[in-house]
Amino acid sequence: MNFVTPEIAWAPLAPIIIVLGAASIGVLIEAFVRTPATRRSVQLVFGLVALVAALGTAIAQWVALDGGGTVVQQFMLTVDRQALAWQTLIVVFGILGLILFASRTRAGESAFTPLGSTAPGSIEETLARRRGFEVTEVFPLLLFAVGGMMLFTSVTDYIFLFVALEVFSLALYIMVALARRRRLMSQEAALKYFLLGAFSSALYLFGVALIYGATTQTSFAAVGRAIDVISGRDALLLAGVVLVLVGLLFKIGAVPFHSWTPDAYQGAPTPVTAFMGAATKAAATAALVRIVYTSLYPLEWEMSWLFWAVAIASMALGTVLALVQTNVKRMLAYSSVAHAGFILVAFAGFTEEAVAALPFYLLAYGLATIGAFAVVSQVRERSEDGAVGAEAVRLGQWAGLGKRSPLLAGAMALFLLSFAGIPLTAGFIGKFEVFSAAVAGGGWPLVLIGVIASAVAAFFYVRLVVLMFLTDIPEGAEDSIEVEDGPLAKLVIVVTAAAVLVLGILPAGLLDVYADAAQFLVLPNG
């Protein structure tokens, strides 16, 4: 027995530890703070403090960092600049998501069901609502998800990646099921998301097994090194790689692994959709980048086919499907599928530019997504007796929103323009960066398809703008829509809108930062 304590550099893990630790403490808060209302405030403040602290430590690390980063544990976990860039991204999304989670309507309703275990429409549900119950567990769950995602961007081992994947996935599955309104849909979404998620993680896992079989390794860099060495196991390796990539492409929401996206986005409580849409995509992209660049890049040629096919399919299908949607959330979901395609466009050629471009792209996309869904959460149906109900997600209900609330509609228009990649929004710079990366890698046909998809996509973005600004409120429907102005949601909208604009006009500073982030500490060849 000669057990040597493993060498672990704990300090760089501080942000993750803070978040996961806070999540655990959050669970304890559930136990000790009895009144739901107080609990909510406590959870919100506590979660914010934790996330801000995590952000602070991450940034401090970045500033203090001398060189590329730190290997936290050999083979398993590395916090390099790339990882830090993604971690901060996810923490920012986490902060915005957390604020949205805590947002309430004028009537004091949160987005979450008062009690997850009650059957929709049951007497218990009503009772729980009357008693002012709240599922404040979503706050620690969110923290777990954030922590899992942060890990996801930093781990360098396939099996560790699997565990991290499950950490944030499980939290998300639960959160998706907790909508306050339209609960049947919410649960349906959760069930579908869960089942497909489990299915895809099984695929991923089998892929890991095959890779392990082929290379005897599970660490990214080691696999990368082994790829060049092994002979006679290429087929096994390739099959494993495809399976692994499928698992990640599922999380990104790329066609044909996208089918969960529209259903989950639509069914989930809108704050969860906002957080999930932004953060999951970022985390999965981060992992994909890391795997592709530090582990699988000897297979560049083989993978490029896969990425090209999936990218084209995603852009095309996401776009045409979004075209025919009549539900705002679903439309945005399909647009996210198309965006998954754009993300993959950056991978064409596996250039270094892509590593710098993708964080910016995801930041731009994530901010706009959170902002857009925050706006969605503010537009509510109103029944004839004046009670404010669920979100008004039918496109037709958005007619004339610009008259009801110009600022809200203006912000939404801004987000949509950013999605569409119109200049002077962050989305444009992001798209430009991504396309540049692709062109640098010789992927201009992909870019061309991307551009055509963008042009078609503009149609449905613009359609919503038309509805909001250029269409009058339908006769007799003047009172059927209520525009909420929850201060927290408003805060999120204002912050994201401002960020989208600023990043669209003056992105230089951030681009510099991300250019620095375009490096991996651990590479197979050095």
Partner: protein
């Protein structure tokens, strides 16, 4: 070297029951088959030099996971029986073709591999622990977070706190009487029956069968008797006043 006998035993023990997943109609049967698969896999692990894992497999999967499944199956109704008729057009063929394709692909891929087996390393707890707490210690710790998440999640989804103050027995009783319920307990099934009759509904004082006194399970299985036979038997032997009951007569004619 692995014993071929072991392999074939494991293969038969796993593949055949696992086919139940595709073809069995009753969820309980499937669950039991999977238990069988798990046991088979445990045997394989032991044979492959992972005795510790084999044990864990039994404990975790057979003992916990599959029992959890069974538990939930009970909860949602053990009588769940699935019609194997496919409702989605072409789904069956797509499923079989792609799964078959996947199998062929994987098998052909594996068939192309040449791995010269290394010396066997038996995974006894000590060795496992050494690796686990060395290289995989961080994973271990993160697994903690995972488990917390799972626990919290399950609680959120299923736990119902007390929504109303607990009622005393007296209160409950009072409420029931107020609602017009029988002040006394309902009869058990098989009352007045003359054989082991969980499947025979009780008869109310008028001699009419009380359908819901029989377990729903039996009802679904269509193993329930309707009680007429026994009533008839009763009628043929018992006191004649019963015949004056008009309701019973109507029932009899039916």
């Amino acid at each position: 070297m692995v014993s071929p006998v072991l392999f074939w035993v494991v293969a038969l023990l796993t593949v055949i029951p696992s086919l139940a997943l595709l073809f069995a109609r009753k969820a309980v049967h499937i669950a039991m088959s999977i238990v069988c698969v798990m046991v088979g896999l445990a045997a394989a692990y032991v044979g492959l030099g992972a005795p510790f894992l084999g044990v864990v497999q039994i404990v975790v999967y057979t003992g916990a996971v599959m029992m959890l499944f069974l538990f939930v199956l009970m909860l949602v109704g053990v009588d769940q029986r699935e019609d194997l008729k496919e409702t989605l057009r072409g789904q069956r063929w797509i499923a079989l073709f792609t799964a078959g394709g996947l199998a062929i692909l994987l098998i052909s891929v594996i068939g192309r591999v040449s791995i010269s087996p290394q010396e066997e390393q038996v995974g006894n707890p000590e060795d496992i622990a050494l690796v686990l707490f060395d290289r995989y210690v961080l994973v271990m710790e993160v697994l903690g977070a995972l488990l917390i998440t799972a626990a919290v999640g399950a609680l959120v989804m299923t736990h119902t706190p007390r929504l109303l103050p607990r009622k005393t027995q007296a209160e409950v009783h009072a409420a029931r009487v107020l609602a017009g319920a029988d002040p006394v307990n309902k009869p058990m099934p098989g009352v007045y029956a003359r054989h082991n009759a969980l499947d025979v509904p009780a008869l109310d004082p008028d001699g009419n069968p009380i359908e819901h006194s029989v377990s729903r399970v039996l009802e679904v299985r269509e193993q329930m008797s309707d009680g007429d036979e026994f009533r008839a038997r009763l009628e043929s032997t018992a006191n004649p006043e019963d015949h004056q009951n008009p309701q019973a007569e109507a029932e009899g004619e039916k």
